[in-house]
């Protein structure tokens, strides 16, 4: 059978059995049930290499080329990793160009053969790239809406994004410099590679870049959705736990390694005082001091104004006061000296301290006597003479240590 007849026969088989093929491709993953109703379709497809028998369990499988054709014409895209295929195609194109350049000056027949190959490979790359761009656009448009698991959707979307990155890497070998190098001085190659292929690749890669950006947004949204789902599950699980165990309180007393979330410090308030010796802050400190003093004064005035003093009428009442024993002893001391009937005409402070059993230190007692004497000096001058028993403590002769004071009555007669 000639090539054309084979092609006619195959397309005829497809045309006649399209209903069975369509059902098998879109509803049964390409499988055709090996039943009497499908017998003629199976026979026809097998004859044209469009289907093949797998086993008794799986029956007959439609060839992947047919499925790809149907996917292509119905714009039903399934994501396939194509970067390696593209790498292979570019490599094939490069070889064909090398052979073409070699055959160009040698054999016209070979030249035309490789020229056809270059055309074919170039258009294959362009066509495959268009399909790839459309398949990614389909992914972005549908956001894997048929997949319910967020995890799988994140994985699939990430795979798409990675595939685009790999494609970019593969097509980076199709730089202007590389293509110009391939084309050399050949006008046909220059037109085909530089104008047709390069502009198509650039356009498709630009679209892919936009798609990749959208995929990144999708991944971010999916991760956010996953986090929201996790938090909601956490909240609900605790709620259910509290419902089932009404008196439940988490007991973490036995935890040895507390996680960071529970390692919270107790609050520390940092307080400091002003450095009042700081020359740098002198002005600020004096301003503060003045302001504080003003406030204090204002408050004092207010306090005084606000203070309520209770006044009681004490007129006609007798108030009894206790006399301090020390003062009483001082009075006894001078009474004894001033009483003319008394036999005592001379008395020292220390002697009196002993006799009166004064409840004070001797130094304090002497001071009290001196204070009384000084206070009553005008009265006592001429009646009592005072002599200090003292010594000078060197090295300064102005330091006097008084050991005792002798008071003696001045005799009138």
């Amino acid at each position: 059978m000639s090539r054309k007849d084979e092609a006619k026969s195959a397309t005829g088989a497809l045309y006649r059995n399209i209903s069975t093929i369509d059902d098998s491709c879109f509803m049964a993953r390409g499988q055709i049930a090996d039943i009497p109703e499908n017998e003629s379709a199976i026979k026809s497809l097998e004859k044209n290499n469009l289907a093949y028998f797998v086993d008794d369990a799986m029956g007959v499988q439609v060839h992947s080329t047919v499925r790809r054709l149907l996917n292509h014409v119905t714009k039903r895209y399934r994501l396939r990793e194509t970067h390696q295929a593209f790498a292979g195609m570019i490599e094939e194109l490069r070889h064909a160009i090398q052979n073409y350049q070699f055959a160009k000056n040698k054999s016209q027949e070979d030249k035309l053969l490789y020229q056809d190959q270059i055309h074919e490979f170039t258009l294959d790359i362009m066509s495959e790239l268009t399909d790839t761009v459309q398949s990614f656009a389909h992914v972005v448009g549908n956001e894997f809406s048929t997949i319910s698991s967020i995890d799988i959707r994140i994985r699939e979307t990430t795979r798409c994004k990675n595939e685009i990155a790999k494609l970019n890497e593969v097509f980076s070998s199709l730089s202007v410099a590389d293509i110009r190098d391939w084309a050399g001085a050949d006008l046909m190659l220059e037109r085909l590679l530089m104008k047709t292929l390069k502009s198509h690749v650039d356009k498709c890669l630009k679209e892919l870049s936009t798609t990749a950006h959208r995929l990144l947004e999708m991944i971010a949204k999916l991760i956010k959705d996953k986090e929201v789902q996790r938090l909601n599950q956490l909240i609900d699980s605790f709620y259910t736990h509290y419902q089932k165990n009404p008196s439940y309180t988490p007991d973490l007393g036995s935890v040895i390694d507390l996680p960071p979330s529970f390692n919270l410090i107790s609050s520390i308030t940092i307080n400091s005082r002003a450095d009042i010796d700081s020359a740098m802050d002198e002005e600020v400190l004096s301003d503060i001091a003045i302001s504080v003093m003003k406030n204090v004064q204002r408050n004092n005035i207010n306090d005084k104004q606000d203070e309520e003093v209770e006044v009681t009428d004490g007129r006609g009442e007798t108030i009894e006061g206790d006399i301090d024993t020390l003062e009483e002893n001082v009075d006894f001391f001078f009474d004894a000296l001033l009483n003319e009937e008394s036999k005592v005409s001379e008395l020292t402070a220390l002697k009196a301290h002993e006799l009166l059993e004064v409840d004070a230190e001797p130094e304090d007692w002497m001071l009290c006597l001196m204070e009384h004497y000084e206070a009553q000096k005008s009265e006592l001058t001429g009646k009592i003479k005072l002599t200090l028993d003292e010594k000078i403590i060197m090295p300064f002769d102005g330091n006097h240590y008084v050991r005792d004071i002798c008071f003696s009555r001045v005799s009138n007669g």
Binding site: N232, Q233, D236, L258, N263, I265
Partner: protein, 210 residues
């Protein structure tokens, strides 16, 4: 030392969770690697360290070494304080989620409108009863019969404890802080430690007509 360094240290040592909502300027300061290092270096010298919540939304201060009995006792005391409030907080999270059109839970940056919450609560007997339960659990104005008073009291409590920040000081709009991130981190740990199942509830098959 910059003013922001000083403020950061003071805020962290005060036991606050520092985030973009509660302390925007200081949070941005801490996002800078160099600033964060200088803060960390200072805190290390006083036996403390800076930690982020798992979602990186907030920073807080922790003890550097929990083998110190004093620090451990301190942490234990704080733990006893927080674990009693979990139930009330979970009920609150559920209540707010029910009023959200997308059933989103509260997270740092989540916006709450008092009027919208109140309208939803007043329209639903079950939400009203949830509010009663929250007020009871958080010991807030639970004797009041007015939903508005209870809601306001709960919002005030959450603001005082750093879970919410009042916007504009009007008291009508609140934004959630990263303290919720800390709560989620704590709940996560409790789940793991106490074996509470957080897997997705499976769809139950209805066996017969009721």
């Amino acid at each position: 030392m910059s003013e922001r360094f000083e403020s950061c240290i003071e805020t962290l040592l005060n036991g606050n969770v520092l985030c973009e909502v509660s302390h925007p300027e200081l949070y941005r300061y801490l996002l800078d690697h160099e600033s964060l290092n200088s803060i960390q270096k200072f805190l290390h010298q006083i036996g403390r360290k800076i930690i982020t919540t798992r979602d990186k939304a907030g920073f807080f201060c922790a003890y550097k070494d929990l083998s110190n009995p004093k620090h451990r006792a301190d942490v234990k005391r704080q733990l006893e304080g927080v674990q009693g409030s979990f139930e009330g907080l979970i009920l609150w999270l559920r209540l707010v989620r029910r009023t959200d059109p997308d059933s989103r839970p509260i997270e740092a940056g989540y916006r709450l409108m008092e009027s919208e919450l109140l309208a939803a609560i007043e329209d639903s007997a079950s939400l009203n009863s949830q509010l009663d339960e929250i007020a009871h659990r958080l010991r807030r104005d639970h004797k009041s019969t007015e939903s508005k008073s209870k809601l306001r009291s709960i919002l005030k409590y959450l603001t005082e404890y750093g879970f919410l920040v009042s916007v504009g000081g009007s008291g009508a709009v609140y934004i959630a802080t990263a303290k919720w991130s800390l709560v989620y981190d704590q709940l996560d740990f409790i789940c793991q430690f106490e074996g509470i199942d957080i897997s997705e509830p499976k769809d139950e098959v209805q066996k017969e007509m009721f």
